[in-house]
């Protein structure tokens, strides 16, 4: 870290991990000039927008009126103490913030669910019914000679996926981009924009997201040697599906990639199950693995902490004192729509886009300054972003690697963990 003194001090931070998507790229170089951040190296459009955004001035508020942090904390504690069924949602925070959220939810007898868990549950339902075989980012980067990307454009969620994982300049087992085949099933992005010019071969099987499961099902059937009478499946000709089957057979290490949030259709867990089922079928004789992306807004972290502390991956209620798990009943989105719950505690400390859902239920928001709010919450407490305003830790999309997040000293804002602990202390 290079440092200069003075009020407009400039500091440069190296090896910065970016908290703004589930890949947690940790090779960024970021300058802090008097509290204004600039990404010097290895930023993507999304990370630059998030790190460099103007942070509006922000104050704790009760029903729109500025108050002190102590007053806001007291009011939040009073609302939580009076609630019969408080819902702890959003949960965009790091490990420490999530630990504090679990402790408070348990104390208050509340429900715990992440803002993006609908996407994650496309995975959890498959995991808890069929299991799977998966890979991680480094393993895929060095080993995959065939990548089958399932869904819509994952670059919108993970702008550097192709640069870092599919087209790295070097790989451990001599499988660099020119040796790789990338297959898109679903919405097919424009080749050069999507994967760069290096990748050896790109195969496009364009279909609607709803049809991906059918395409994968036909592929699995053909790989098993079954006859299919139809000429197409999911709008893809059988000839193309057979070509893909041959690519699969030839692969040394194939990886089926999906980002659950991009599979935004009803019962998308069945699509995930076809993708992981394809992997399962092929592993009988060769090596294949799945790779789930996503995990933005601390979603993977929230599920992991919830699992190790309660035994269940979110969607739990502590109303009885013990964690009770029901992935349908304890979806906070469903509960709010059904008029269940009498208080929403919404934690959104990472990006300013994670607005609380529209609800008439009184709401306490712990948010990054500038968080988009449709209406004034009962209590608003501005909080720091882990990896920007204070240090912290997040778990990556592959659920294996976790990264330390640096304090880049952007602004003096309290940590979610400390605010929640104060609220719990005041209950």
């Amino acid at each position: 870290m290079r440092e200069a003194t003075g009020e407009r001090a400039t500091r440069v931070f190296e090896n910065v991990a970016c908290p703004f998507c589930g890949m947690l790229c940790d090779d960024l170089e970021i300058e802090n000039r008097g509290g204004v951040l600039k990404v010097l190296k290895n930023g993507c459009g999304w990370s630059v927008a998030c790190f460099e955004r103007n942070l509006p001035p922000s104050s704790p508020q009760i029903r729109g009126k500025d108050v002190t942090l102590a007053e806001a904390t007291k009011e939040a504690a009073s609302l939580i103490g009076d609630a019969d069924s408080p819902l702890f949602g959003g949960l965009a925070t790091g490990v420490e913030g999530m630990r504090a959220a679990m402790a408070l939810a348990e104390r208050a007898g509340g429900v715990v669910d992440h803002a993006l868990s609908e996407g994650q549950y496309r995975n959890v339902k498959v995991l808890q019914s069929a299991g799977w075989t998966t890979s991680t980012l480094t393993e895929t980067r060095n080993r995959a000679d065939l990548l089958i990307v399932v869904g819509s454009d994952i670059r919108k969620l993970h702008p550097r996926f192709f640069e870092r994982i599919v087209s790295p300049p070097d790989s451990m087992f001599e499988v660099t981009a020119p040796q790789r085949t990338v297959v898109f099933i679903g919405e097919v992005p424009e080749r050069k924009v999507a994967v760069g010019s290096q990748v050896g071969e790109v195969v496009a099987l364009a279909c609607a997201v709803e049809q991906i499961g059918e395409v994968l099902g036909a592929l699995r059937a053909r790989l098993r040697g079954f006859r299919i009478n139809a000429k197409t499946a999911g709008g893809i000709t059988l000839a193309k599906i057979d070509e893909l089957a041959e690519l699969c057979r030839q692969a040394k290490y194939g990886v089926v990639v999906w980002a659950p949030p991009t599979l935004d259709v009803s019962h998308a867990e069945l699509t995930v199950e076809q993708a992981t089922g394809l992997v399962k079928d092929l592993n009988h004789t060769q090596r294949f693995a799945g790779l789930s992306l996503g995990g933005n807004e601390g979603a993977v972290t929230a599920a992991a902490v919830s699992t190790w502390q309660s035994g269940f991956p979110l969607r739990i209620s502590y109303a009885s004192g013990a964690p009770q798990f029901d992935p349908y009943r304890y979806s906070i989105a469903r509960m709010l729509a059904a008029g269940e719950g009498d208080l929403l505690v919404w934690i959104a400390s990472i990006s300013p886009d994670l607005s609380p859902p529209a609800t008439d239920v009184p709401t306490i928001v712990l948010g990054t300054p500038g968080l988009k709010l449709a209406r004034k919450p009962a209590v608003f407490i501005p909080v720091g972003t882990p990896g920007v305003d204070h240090s912290g830790r997040l778990i990556r999309c592959d659920s294996v690697v976790s990264l330390p997040l640096k304090n880049l000293h952007r602004a003096e804002l309290p940590r979610v963990a400390d605010v929640l602990a104060s609220i719990e202390g005041a209950l």
Binding site: N15, Q128, G131, R287, S310, A322
Partner: protein, 554 residues
């Protein structure tokens, strides 16, 4: 303030105290000599009670990604054992793979004060420590997994100077905050990524052209020369395969006098005799162990019921997945570093195979003579959840109880077992060795596992009940650092234990080639791969105890 534990029968094998009535004095969390002025602030009258050091589990999967996958995989298993919050303790769930806080409470309630996670992947070390940070009551530590990681395999394949291999092993122990090193299916986890489905002791890895024998010898020698106290912790080749006793015996012979710890040998001691070509290799294993002083083992006893196996051995777990109950498994290839496999399992006493596994474990316990070289484990949760330890202790201490239990298992397995002919009953001394003094000595925990002056005052007090299962399930008192944390088998005070590490020296020049390797191939920077002390101390509200290593030699 001096606390006196008065008049208990003390079993402290490390200090050669065997059931003698002794007073123990505690001050500032440590065991001290009797105060010269005789003044004590508080006395616990322990007349007739059995007093031991707090128990130490040297091999229990309590933290890290694969355990959280296991927790996530079978929610229906947690639903049988939901745990409510109290004014003192946090909520959670138990059964096969309990949540972190429940793990800590239940270990303490069973008289345990330290637990060691034996399979921490370097790439997942941060999460393993976060989970252990959320495991209260007990001290913790972890063994870092090497031997299928590409950096080490490249070093070995390139025949790098041995001192560089040692530097890398030591660097990894530092960066992952480990106390020991484990190898799992040596080279096999990597070989599975190249579609090898089996890797025997002298079989070559298809890419690196090194063998498990070479990997084991290199790591075992590196640890010895680095002065790491615990020998290489070996989960051998061919786990779960009938006939694997041959590769297990060959691995012990391969050590050529180097110290090795062979772990959960039960899963690695199967013969091929009998109609079903599946038999106990325990007598042959024990015979070799008894004459090979450089080898220690832990058993990994199977006990009947639902559990969930979680292992770094992706190659073998993939194959074992066909026996999963319920039918769902998770296999992972991880970060050019390691792998994992999670397979739920229901061990049934009426199943021939499961009953034979039970037999193999018990025969091992009863035929290996030296308790200093054998530790009591179920390889939690792989053989059974850790709460079954009191039952296991009774099986070892009570021949008639053991014979009764033998009547309940699959009769074909019982008929093939020599258990009816074994009269050995473990003594309290031997139990204290296997669950305290032995693991502490083996891991290099200088101030744990004994009751001599200077030791941490981690002490367990039992009622001397003839039913040893009841006795060991419900200690009357458990002290952690001199404070009473459990009374009559229930937590009365919640404390946060320390994390034990060992830090052999290394040449910092290793970070040159390592940084190049990380930048070229990996998706994490070397600087972020390393786990800083502050993460354990500040972020996890823990503390670190650096246990002394021996000097490095070449």
């Amino acid at each position: 303030m001096v606390i006196k534990l008065s008049g208990g029968k003390v079993y402290d094998p490390a200090n050669k105290v065997s059931g003698e009535v002794r007073d123990i004095y505690v001050e500032d969390g440590k065991i001290v000599a009797a105060p010269a002025d005789g003044r004590v602030a508080q006395t616990h009258n322990l007349k007739g009670r059995v007093v031991m050091a707090g128990a130490i589990d040297p091999h229990t999967h309590i933290g890290g990604g694969k355990i959280t996958i296991a927790r996530m995989l079978i929610p229906e298993d947690h639903m049988k054992d939901e745990v409510k919050r109290t004014d003192l303790t946090r909520a959670g769930t138990g059964h096969a793979v309990p949540s972190t806080m429940v793990t800590g409470y239940r270990y303490a309630e069973m008289g345990y004060t330290a637990c060691f996670e034996p399979a921490m992947l370097p790439a997942n070390a941060r999460q393993a420590h976060m989970e252990m940070g959320d495991t209260p009551m007990v001290d913790k530590g972890a063994f870092v997994m090497l031997g299928s990681d590409d950096y080490f395999l490249r070093q070995l394949a390139a025949k790098q100077e041995f001192e560089r291999i040692k530097d890398y092993v030591a660097w990894t122990m530092h960066s992952a905050q480990a106390i020991a090193v484990k190898v799992v299916n040596p080279g096999g986890i990597s070989a599975f990524k190249f579609n090898q489905r089996k890797l025997d002791l002298d079989e070559e890895h298809v890419y690196y052209h090194v063998t498990p024998r070479q990997i084991i010898l290199a790591l075992a020698r590196a640890l010895k020369e680095l002065g790491v106290v615990h020998p290489l912790h070996v989960h051998g080749c061919n786990l779960g395969i009938p006939g694997n006793i041959e590769s297990t015996l060959a691995t012990i012979r391969a050590a050529e006098g180097l110290p090795l710890h062979m772990t959960h040998t039960q899963f690695l001691s199967y013969g091929t005799e009998g109609d079903r070509k599946f038999s106990s290799g325990a007598p042959r294993l024990a015979e070799l162990i008894n004459k090979t002083p450089n080898i220690s083992i832990d058993v990994g006893q199977v006990l009947f019921g639902q559990t969930c196996t979680a292992s770094g051995d992706s190659m073998r777990q993939y194959s074992i997945g066909k026996s999963a109950h319920p039918k769902r498994t998770v296999i992972m290839d991880i970060e050019c570093d390691a792998g994992c496999g999670v397979v739920p399992m229901r061990y049934r006493d009426k199943s021939f195979v499961n009953a034979m596994q039970w037999v193999v474990g018990l025969e091992t316990f009863l035929l290996v003579e030296d308790p200093w070289r054998m530790f009591l484990t179920t390889d939690h949760p792989n053989g059974a959840p850790f709460y079954t330890y009191p039952h296991l202790i009774r099986l070892l201490m009570d021949k008639s109880f053991r014979d009764d239990m033998l009547q309940r298992i699959n009769p074909d397995a019982a008929a093939m077992s020599i258990l009816p002919t074994i009269t050995r009953e473990y003594t309290l001394d031997e139990i204290a060795i296997m669950t305290r003094a032995g693991p502490a000595r083996s891991l290099g925990l200088q101030d744990r596992g004994h009751l001599g002056a200077g030791a941490s005052a981690d002490i367990t007090v039992y009622r001397d009940d003839k039913n040893r299962e009841a006795m060991f399930a419900t200690p009357e008192l458990v002290f952690k650092n001199g404070e009473v944390i459990v009374k009559n088998g229930k937590v009365v005070k919640v404390v946060q234990g320390a994390t034990h590490v060992m830090r052999p020296s290394y040449d910092h020049a290793i970070e040159g080639p390592l940084k190049t390797y990380f930048d070229r191939y990996l998706t994490v920077r070397m600087e972020n791969f390393r786990l800083a002390d502050e993460e354990i101390i500040d972020a996890d509200r823990g503390s670190i105890v650096v246990q002394p290593n021996r000097p490095r030699v070449s």
